[in-house]
């Protein structure tokens, strides 16, 4: 597995590399944002670890630029503080996860492995269902060319339904596979999100956005 580490503090960069190399991962280092972006654009990494505070181009802008170029490599952001704003900002700019420095070795390895596993699935980067088009790397969704402004969970639900267009899922299945919750009870949080998505899709011109399948749950038609 090839990992790109973009970190300007040489001591931290070296130790992250040492931890990863001990697990026989191949590590490449970049010391500033522009060099990191150049490497990342080559698209040959399984995971990228990017510090937020970098000389030149900062971590957020690096990830945003890479996503805009269609690079879907999972990114783990490193932040120095427990900065809520950093986290929200980071996830919005296209990072997949974040880790606060300093971190425990096991924590770093667990996050990197989880991201790599997620990336292994041979998923399409662009999903189409009729007029609906989802760009997974850039985290954008359009209906008939109109951009849908979606929250994190709304996006995940729509992405899941679109990947499996034409198949109906029960609320429990959606709760387990989209939310990754382990809950036996019945929850109408799924209905809350389905109705939000329906509203947004209708506003963009969809006529029958997400169908209710009686006795089962919901599905997205192949031509919504």
């Amino acid at each position: 597995m090839r990992i790109l580490v973009v970190e300007d503090n040489p001591a931290v960069a070296r130790s992250v590399a040492a931890i990863l190399e001990r697990r026989t991962f191949a590590v490449e280092l970049a010391a500033d944002g522009d060099a990191g972006l150049e490497r990342l654009l080559s698209g040959t990494y399984d995971v990228a670890i990017v510090d937020v505070m970098l000389p030149g181009r900062d971590g957020f802008s690096l990830v945003r630029a890479a996503r805009a170029e269609g690079i879907g490599t999972p990114v783990l952001m490193l932040t120095a503080r427990d900065a809520v704003e950093d986290r929200v900002h980071g996830l919005n700019s296209g990072a997949d996860d974040y880790l606060v420095k300093p971190f425990a070795e096991e924590e770093l390895l667990a996050r990197v492995t989880a991201l790599a596993r997620r990336a292994e699935r041979p998923f399409a980067q662009t999903i189409r269902a009729g007029a609906l088009e989802i760009d997974v790397a850039a985290r954008t969704a359009r209906y008939a060319g109109r951009e849908l402004r979606l929250g994190k969970t709304e996006f995940r639900l729509l992405e899941f339904l679109a990947r499996n267009a034409g198949t109906a899922f029960t609320r429990a299945q959606l709760l387990e596979r989209v939310w990754e919750y382990d809950f036996d009870g019945s929850s109408n949080v799924v209905d809350v999100y389905v109705s939000q998505l329906r509203r947004k899709l209708r506003a963009a011109g969809a006529r029958a956005p997400i169908a209710t399948v009686w006795g089962v749950g919901y599905k997205l038609e192949r031509e919504p």
């Binding site: 986290r87 994190k152 969970t153």
Partner: protein, 308 residues
């Protein structure tokens, strides 16, 4: 500070009032004088004129004095209102600095003494020392993170909120905790019903983890975790059958660095974080007696999301 601002406001107003009153008095005196011009030469008229002027002066003073009192009171209230957030922010900063200093002393002492003791030791001793040092540094960093969170005003903090099912989250977090609980030979009962709130999932997971860790530190044999909708709120309870918390300590457990002597190895800020997260969600956290064999119950109440 408040007294100084009140005094300044009042002084400015007093100057304005005095200038205005003097002008008004001078104007009245001149108008009377020009009206009575020829008659003023006679002593009785002059006496009546001066009497009238004295009454005008007294009337002006009688209006001015209460006016100034009202303004002084109003400026006190206004100064208080406008300064309160500033003073609260300054107090939070002061507390942060104090608590960080207090909380970092122990891990720093550990690091210094372990590093010095390991000098010249063999490989095994060095590896052991490095492990202890890494652990102490990570604890210190985690503590700084928690203190930074606590230094923020929970009512205006940036949370990443969206509708989520607190009941499902409680069940999920409790199940994640299951292996750790079983390792200690403790039973964990989960009784969670759906309750939709507008919440920050990561923060709420942190809240639940802190409560579960706390319960695990005290429980003898059983922990019970529940989530139920109740009117317009979602209520989460985490109960354990430990020694219980006496009523006079129930507020203090939410204070930072407050550790009851009976509690082993608590970090001291976990429950403060719990309350902070609950309040950041317009909710509340408190402790009451447990029910049906449980001694302590931590209760979290968050507003349910109204669903149209």
């Amino acid at each position: 500070m408040i007294a100084r601002i009140t005094a300044a406001y009042t002084a400015v107003f007093a100057i304005v009032v005095v200038l205005f009153s003097l002008t008004a008095y001078a104007f009245v005196a001149r108008e009377y004088a020009s009206l009575l011009q020829p008659a003023l030469a006679s002593p009785p008229v002059a006496a009546a004129y001066h009497d009238a002027l004295r009454r005008v002066a007294i009337a002006i003073a009688l209006v001015d004095l209460p006016l100034m009192l009202v303004v002084a009171a109003a400026s006190y209230v206004l100064a208080h209102l406008s300064l309160r957030p500033l003073l609260a922010a300054r107090e939070r900063e002061r507390r942060f600095a104090m608590e960080a200093a207090h909380g970092l002393r122990t891990p720093l002492a550990t690091i210094a003494s372990v590093a010095q003791a390991a000098r010249g030791g063999d490989a095994a001793v060095t590896a052991d020392a490095l492990e202890t040092i890494a652990r102490a540094a990570l604890d210190a960093a985690a503590l700084v993170g928690d203190l930074l969170t606590l230094a923020r005003d929970p009512h205006r903090s940036a949370l990443h909120r969206e509708p989520l099912d607190l009941g499902a989250l409680v069940a999920t977090c409790a199940r994640d905790f299951m292996p750790l609980v079983q390792e200690r030979g403790i039973e964990l009962r989960i009784d969670s019903r759906s309750a939709i709130v507008n919440g920050d999932e990561r923060r709420l997971r942190e809240l639940l983890r802190n409560l579960l860790e706390n319960a695990l530190r005290h429980a003898r044999s059983t922990i019970r975790v529940a989530c139920n909708p109740d009117g317009r709120h979602a209520v989460v309870t985490v109960e354990d059958d430990g020694d219980g918390i006496p009523p006079h300590d129930r507020e203090r457990v939410f204070e930072r660095f407050y550790r009851r002597d009976v509690a082993p190895n608590g970090c001291g800020v976990g429950l403060a974080i719990v309350r902070w997260i609950a309040r950041a969600h317009e909710g509340e956290a408190w402790v009451r007696d447990g029910e049906a064999g449980f001694t302590t119950a931590f209760v979290i109440r968050l507003p349910l999301l109204p669903i149209s």
